[in-house]
């Protein structure tokens, strides 16, 4: 393993993040606050409680997931797409590093950035609602797993994308709707039976449900299934990345 190279990619990616640290820090704080104002105050005053948890607190796991998932994807996708786009990828291809090491560097950095934002949102949320985390270790594990698996997913999108539109396509048209419809801001049990069934086909539901379980010890689906879902998703992404590596698809002609 060329650890120095992995660290070099990681540091280089993180330096981009630190160059714009104020944006990285301020935007999640503002957007979280806005969600609390709109969802927590406006809707929360009508819903009051969901299965014994105040609505304001109830949406916190979903809010964190919303940002963490989109950030993981966009950071990783942009991270690898950018060198492809401007051509600096030549250096990675001519260096004595394996594709796996390149993935580790980029995905590690993208996951770290997303994790940072997740933590910022969690802290911000604390100013609005009282949070007692039921399973803190599981919460951290879920958060880290989500960051990593979606950064892997984002990396694949970055390799696949041929232009900036495609880079935005999957996150905007597929992932964001799935997150919103995956029970970020409501419990599935609040839906009519037909839609409950439909929602169970949404993979993001299992993530948010598991994450919420770590917070409040309550879930839409059993925690075991949530773990299985995220493991499957990670496995799928790793499989696709392995294929890309074998074939050099869209990287090496």
């Amino acid at each position: 393993m060329n650890w120095i190279a992995i660290a070099a990619i990681y540091r280089f990616e993180m330096s981009r993040f630190f160059r714009t640290i104020m944006q990285s820090f301020v935007s999640p704080v503002i957007s979280t606050s806005l969600y609390f104002v709109v969802f927590g105050a406006a809707i929360g005053s009508r819903i009051d409680q969901v299965e014994g948890v105040s609505y304001g607190a109830f949406i916190v796991p979903g809010l964190i997931m919303l940002s963490v998932i989109t950030q993981s994807i966009s950071n990783a996708a942009f991270g690898i797409y950018f060198p492809k786009f401007i051509g600096t990828i030549y250096e990675h291809l001519s260096a004595p590093i394996s594709f796996f090491e390149i993935v580790l560097g980029y995905v590690g950095a993208a996951a770290t950035k997303a994790l940072f934002i997740g933590v910022v949102i969690l802290i911000t949320a604390n100013f609005f609602v009282d949070l007692n985390i039921a399973h803190p270790l599981a919460m951290v594990a879920f958060l880290v797993m989500t960051c990593l698996s979606f950064a892997l997913f984002g990396f694949i999108i970055g390799i696949w994308a041929k232009n900036f539109e495609q880079l935005q396509l999957v996150p905007l048209l597929i992932v964001t709707p799935l997150i919103f419809l995956g029970g970020s801001f409501y419990s599935v049990s609040m839906l009519p039976p037909v839609w409950q069934t439909v929602t169970h086909f949404n993979p993001v539901l299992y993530l948010i449900s598991g994450f919420r379980w770590a917070f409040f010890d309550m879930a839409d689906v059993p925690i075991g299934i949530s773990l299985l879902a995220i493991a499957l998703f990670t496995g799928l992404c790793l499989g696709v990345i392995w294929l890309i590596f074998r074939t050099g698809w869209r990287i090496r002609s």
Binding site: I4, A5, A8, S15, T88, Y90, L93, A95, P96, S253
Partner: protein
């Protein structure tokens, strides 16, 4: 000397079916400067890209320092530095950071003293903390060279290092190349500019349509391929050649005032004595005589045209 880079029957067929390399074989000795000359689309960049790992060869083999570039890619690639043809840089990064990244990518531990030395050598030290977007085009090219040198390669590929570069900078580049050669680095460069190959290369390879037409010592190439021309200026212009001079293959130039005779310097007889006698027998009087050696450019054009 041992070959540090050995290319054997290298072929590359791109997905569209275009055969960019048609079985190129080439040995490059340690410490030499090889210039690859060829028109656009000849396969120069594909050859370099295949050796450096940017393009997967369809068949054939390449070893660098004895290491196969596919089976033993880590050892092979750590010996190689690549300066690409296009100026591709991270515009928002600083010069020093991007050079450090390059060193790291090759698995070499951070070495600020070395990075400083490289940046000073390339006159980039004053700009070390500038964002690359603030630099001029020529400076950016230097950054690419600095990046390629950051991991102390033994073999350096320069893909058209002076394309679109002004004269002063081109001379600078040549100096840099000479310095690197003095440090023992083997250099392979591609170029359109014959004068560049003539000025700095030890050996010259001519490549066209995916085939390596020849690789030869520059001096040897010039000697073998070099034809000389004898230009005879006459005191009075002539309109037609006298019949006695018909067999010499002369050209008439400058409105009939000069006769141009081409000859091979390596032929047993150059035919000059015979020609001069024949001119004098024909009653023509000479004002001046001069000879001209054909340049590498002429040789190159001849070769590529012969192949067409």
């Amino acid at each position: 000397m041992a070959a540090i880079l050995s290319v054997k029957d290298l072929r590359k067929v791109y997905d569209g079916g275009f055969e960019a390399l048609k079985g190129v074989s080439l040995d490059i000795e340690e410490g030499e400067i090889l210039a690859l000359l060829g028109p656009n689309g000849a396969g120069k960049t594909t050859l370099i890209s295949a050796v450096c790992g940017l393009v997967t060869p369809s068949s054939g083999s390449v070893t660098v320092g004895g290491h196969d570039i596919l089976r033993d890619y880590r050892a092979a690639r750590s010996l190689i530095g690549l300066v690409p043809q296009e100026v591709v840089v991270e515009q928002f990064e600083t010069v020093r950071n991007t050079v450090r990244l390059s060193r790291g990518l090759f698995g070499k531990p951070r070495n600020d003293a070395l990075v400083e030395e490289i940046l000073r050598k390339l006159s980039l030290w004053d700009k070390r903390d500038n964002q690359i977007k603030e630099l001029s085009g020529g400076m950016k090219r230097r950054v690419l060279i600095a990046k390629a040198l950051a991991h102390e390669p033994r073999v350096l590929f320069l893909d058209e290092p002076t394309a679109g570069v002004d004269v002063a900078l081109r001379k600078d580049m040549w100096d840099i190349v000479a310095e690197m050669k003095a440090d023992g680095v083997t250099i392979i460069l591609t170029t359109h500019y014959i004068e560049e190959a003539e000025a700095i290369a030890d050996r010259i390879g001519v490549i066209t349509r995916g085939e390596l037409l020849l690789v030869q010592e520059k001096a040897e190439l010039m000697r073998q391929m070099g034809r000389k021309q004898l230009e005879v200026q006459l005191t009075a212009p002539i309109e037609t050649l006298p019949a006695s001079l018909a067999d010499f293959g002369l050209e008439i130039g400058q409105g009939g005032e000069t006769l141009i005779y081409s000859y091979d310097t390596h032929a047993e007889r150059t035919g000059i004595t015979k020609l001069l006698n024949a001119i004098s027998d024909a009653g023509l009087t000479l004002r001046d005589v001069q000879t001209r050696q054909s340049s590498l450019e002429d040789i190159f054009v001849n070769l590529v045209e012969e192949d067409a």
